[in-house]
Symmetry: C2
Subunit: 349 residues, 2 copies
């Protein structure tokens, strides 16, 4: 049965929210978990859960109070003495801190005690430890981050969302292949439509990288359904399944979307706090706003998948609440069960 | 007195919305205008305005009915036989169509009959005709597009928002200088704070271009206030006045913001159409939503400024309504009166 290793010490609200999210997932999705970190601190959170259940006030609107019977859950604890902090240089840190929670969580997958990792700490450390601890899939030049974004219709996959700042057209071609396999095996898109993130629809638009990538994708003989260039504003139309870009552009886009959505919700909150009348209307509108927030909130998607390594690593937002971690564990489980890696390897080779 | 030339034939709703917007600005801001395009078609719109006033149902929420006394306005008409279409290659088009409305509108500035151009047609054609018709400011390597974006506080300037897909660190340094001068002279920011759009706060983050730009800006000796890297999500905090990036990244960010905002408003509209109750709450919430929409709607900012050419060119959105054009004329007027170009030339040399 699929077991998910969770770096209990990574993330702004670790270990509390992380442990709660993992336990919540263990109960809701009936999935065994392996919590990796300082066991005494993890145990404190587990004791709190046993007494009070899971009460999460992170993630803005979602406040829950969930009863948990820990004795019915399959939870393994693995001690990790060290923690990699957000500011540390990833490459150096994973070599120096061999007993850190992220390195040992990845190690659990490498050794086979778990099948996937969920990590909400330093993205760089999660990537570096996955790359070195699990290794690249055969034929893959560089792993990439696949992020899931909300649209007017079904979610879209943006790849690379931040793993590689400098890319070649061949790398972007591989990202397209990995993204399409992910869209097909996890999101059940029959023939995923692939676009290149660009600044215009025309073939000759953009920088050299996207022009060359456009050419490669157009001529592909491995059955990828390429639909052409996608502009930033079309990302949200839901008319494309996978959008390919270099990790710099992808990360800017991803964070811009996050910032833009949060600003809009902030402005809405402010408007509904002006006077008595606005407060009343705000209260009436709240359930509707909640539903929209839920639809666009990154916590719903749990985290982004690092594709191209021999294993599954889900990279969650640093500010992940228990709700986000719960969803991240679900994503990890689905990715393992879909056999996405095996399918990528088949398509690439 | 400052006169603004308007390409009456450029934009999805030309000439109707363009002419209406220009006339509206002439009346509201007491500014002389020069309408460049097919005079018979422009005259038709003017006749309609004389009879019915300006009624604009573009721009979503804004429906106005404004009385206009054309006899009191200073409106010059200049015939242009040709139109450059959206799909045409800009460099070729401006050479081939010497009698096109955008080329002649820029020409009006070059010859001194107007002081600035407003253009809502092909961005490429507006840039190319400005570059060739007006020339670069002395010392400027490449002109750049400065777009104004809403934030939680005061607007921020994003430069380059799409003029140059491939940039050098020296170009980005010049963009910073131009952006800061714009922020100071048009938006009255005493000492504009400058950031580099990047994928992390740390100095060593990002691709080679932003790393090198970071270094140049840090060591600048022309008094630019550099505050470091800015992530996409921080764009909206209002804690920076000018954000510098290459035109590819900037254009992706700009269009992503547009798409994201529009998706959210679409989702809100959908939520408020579910049943009778949601429709009632939607009606109550409408004035609040209108205010937010007004605050983030790109039409409020009128258009982006092409900086670095000997003249002022305001590039408006292709979907500009009369309301957007009215604001674009205001931006053009303010830019001329602020002497932004003279100040850029001084700072660069």
């Amino acid at each position: 049965m699929t077991r998910i290793a969770v770096d209990a010490m990574g993330g702004d609200f670790a270990p509390g929210e992380i442990v709660k999210g993992a336990v919540w997932a263990a109960q809701d999705y009936n999935v065994p978990i392996e919590l990796v970190g300082q066991i005494d601190k993890i145990q404190e959170v587990l004791d709190e859960i046993a007494k009070k259940g899971i009460r999460s006030n992170r993630g803005g609107y979602f406040v829950k109070n969930i009863k948990v019977d820990l004795s019915k859950l399959d939870i393994k604890l693995t001690q990790a003495d060290e923690i990699i902090e957000m500011g540390e240089a990833p490459g150096v840190a994973i070599r120096k801190k061999k007993k850190s929670s992220i390195v040992l969580a990845v190690d659990a997958v490498a050794k086979g005690s778990s099948d996937a990792v969920v990590a909400a700490g330093s993205t760089g450390a999660a990537m570096a430890s996955s790359l070195f601890g699990l290794g690249r899939l055969k034929g893959i030049e560089r792993p990439a981050i696949a992020a899931t974004l909300p649209t007017k219709k079904e979610p879209v996959i943006l790849i690379d969302a931040g793993a590689n700042s400098a890319c070649s057209p061949e790398m972007l071609m591989q990202f397209a292949t990995m993204g399409a396999t992910f869209a097909k095996s996890v999101y059940n898109r029959e023939t995923p439509r692939i676009g290149v993130l660009n600044i215009g629809e025309e073939e000759e638009k953009g920088n050299q990288l996207v022009k060359d990538t456009h050419k490669l994708l157009k001529e592909n003989k491995i059955g990828l359904k390429f639909i052409g260039n996608i502009e930033g504003k079309e990302l949200f139309q839901g008319d494309v399944d996978v959008v390919v870009c270099d990790g710099f552009v992808g990360n800017v886009a991803l964070k811009t979307i996050e910032g833009c959505s949060m600003m809009l919700f902030k402005l809405i909150q402010q408007e509904f706090k002006q006077d008595i009348l606005s407060k009343i209307v705000g209260l009436l509108a709240k359930p509707f706003m909640k539903r929209i927030y839920k639809r666009i909130n990154y916590e719903e998607f749990g985290g982004a998948l690092l594709l191209g390594v021999k294993g599954i690593t889900v990279i969650s937002h640093g500010r992940s609440s228990s709700y986000a971690i719960k969803n991240a564990v679900r994503v990890a489980k689905e990715a393992v069960e879909s056999g996405v890696n095996k399918k990528i390897a088949e398509l690439i080779n």
